[in-house]
């Protein structure tokens, strides 16, 4: 963690309401936070706690109902409607995401080349010579232990889930955003490839110094990777602090229950408390 903490992404009173009247659902309920530059943050919650809605708001994919988001100290302005789309594009140069399901993250009609070339174009490298572009793509692929030569003529569905997720990291490597939001990046891949993906994300973060936000339901993973942990319940943050504080010495009853429910290997798993 850097000595002087500069807030990278913050929010005050952030709220998202779906529906109205009797159908009203408050998915995210007046959330405040400060995410600092270069930190690794985890947002942990059960399904339906509003994690993904929060992520979508931070990415600017859905509008906020109330509250403000501040990016690097300035109020975020994405404008309204299609004529302000360029503002979003500018914003997305700074914040990028990896989603849970690698299979649905790609355009199935585009070859892998096109996926990576798009990233280069987005960083303003559209006019570079072809050889330079290929060198960049090869570098990105080798960063995630993929071979560019084997991938060039393939479509995303020809890869396995783990490879797709790694390619996603290769995209991030080319884009070099300030913030990476990883929404359950490992929940659809099995335990042995999970370690590989995590290693790569941490290596990438070390190289670029970006802020990493993990959204997960896996408390073990949150504990392993993050500096600070936020626990989310019904759209609210019930507890936050450093990973050691929150996971090893939880104060709130909800957090305690959540941690108790995870099967462990060195401690007895108490089944009587359901």
């Amino acid at each position: 963690m850097p000595d002087e903490k500069k807030p990278c992404l913050s929010a005050t009173g952030l709220t998202k309401v779906f529906g109205f009247g009797r159908q009203k659902t408050v998915a995210v309920d007046h959330v405040d936070f400060d995410f600092y530059e270069g930190e690794i943050i985890s947002i942990v919650g059960e399904s339906g706690s509003g994690k993904t809605t929060l992520a979508k708001m931070l990415l600017g994919l859905i509008s906020t109902s109330e509250g403000e988001i501040y990016f690097q100290g300035k109020k975020r302005d994405l404008g309204k409607g299609i004529w302000d789309q360029w503002k979003k594009r500018e914003y997305w140069k700074n914040i990028q995401a990896i989603f849970q399901d690698p299979y649905s993250s790609y355009n199935m009609f585009n070859k892998i080349d096109a996926v990576l070339l798009d990233c280069i174009r987005m960083r303003g490298g559209g006019k570079l010579p072809q050889a330079k572009k290929i060198a960049m793509m090869t570098e990105a692929c080798s960063f995630v232990n993929l071979k560019y030569e084997e991938l060039t003529n393939k479509y995303p569905f020809e890869l396995s889930g783990g490879q797709m997720q790694r390619l996603m990291i290769a995209r991030i490597f080319l884009l070099k955003p300030k913030i990476l939001l990883a929404d359950e990046p490992t929940s659809m891949i099995d335990a042995s490839s999970r370690a590989t993906i995590l290693d790569m994300l941490l290596k990438l973060r070390k190289e670029t110094g970006m802020t990493l936000i993990f959204i997960t339901h896996d408390i073990g993973l949150a504990y392993y990777v993050s500096d600070s942990v936020y626990i989310m319940e019904h759209g609210k943050f019930v507890e936050h602090g450093t990973a050691d504080e929150v996971i090893l010495h939880p104060k709130e009853a909800y957090t305690q229950r959540l941690i108790n429910d995870v099967p462990k290997i060195h401690e007895e798993w108490d089944l009587s408390t359901v």
Binding site: E46, A191, A195, G220, L221, Y223, I259, P263, H266, L271
Partner: protein, 336 residues
Amino acid sequence: MAYVMLELKELTTKYITRFHEDVYAVDHVSLKVEEGKSLGIAGESGCGKSTLALSLMGYYFAPLHYTSGEIIIDGKNISGMKPDDIRKTILGTEIAYIPQAAMNALNPTQKIISFINDVIQAHDPATSKKDCYDLARSVFENVGLPAEVLQKYPVELSGGMKQRTVIATSVILSPKVLIADEPSSALDVTTQKVVIKMLRDLMEKGIVKSMIFITHELPLLYNVTDDIMVMYAGQIVESGTAQQTVFDPLHPYSKGLMGSIIVPEAGLRDHKLTAIPGVPPNLKKPPAGCRFADRCKYVIPECKTNSVGLHVLEDDKRAYRCILPEEELRRYYKNA
């Protein structure tokens, strides 16, 4: 030695693809499940865990085909039976299967009770509706589900509730072996715990006699089952008690797998996760030697040419599939 409920002897099954290629997804698998015990099967996706579950029911439908080996349930060999006979006499009463997406097994236009009626009457058409209801009610209450669930439609139930309903339905005729194929992977931790508690209750109350539990989550497996088998590319690479396989793995693959466990416990942040490099072999053309050789750290030239058998250690249950002797492997792990 306790009574053996289910035994597989060198079971081999294959998939035949559209292009007439054989994929050996289950390759000479032998295992034993004793009465009152549970067996866990671990392994990464695509290693044949779910195919093994389908194969050991004896119920084959294309593209899955039976090749060789024996399946013995409660002293009866079912490996040569016709699919129709299996469905009528074996499934439900001898073996029950909980699929991965159990919640999709329910018919949205049918009440739970009528679904259960169908299940029971498929085995004994003479059963009256009243008897079905009484049986369903007693099983549901035994496993801690309210009887009102029976009168509901699937859409009225939550995900965890649906999963438990499907489990209760599949054990309604008290099968001898229950196969649970990732029953909790779509659920969050709290619901998962409820489902696991239910499975354990079923075992304790004697509604099911023995269980095979399939998952890739090792901490869960360690807490649920008595024995664990690790599968890799269609073969069993290691077997032993849960304690042995998790804390003292012998095969390099299981060693790697155990090193990737993440649990929220003190001390986790200090140890480095081990990732296994590479990808599993293509099962259309399995390598001649050890199937793990390409990804193994301790590979020697003989690994790629000699086929490797299962070494059974003295206590009969513990076995591993590696060319290297036990002492040498332990020495490697100690120095690593």
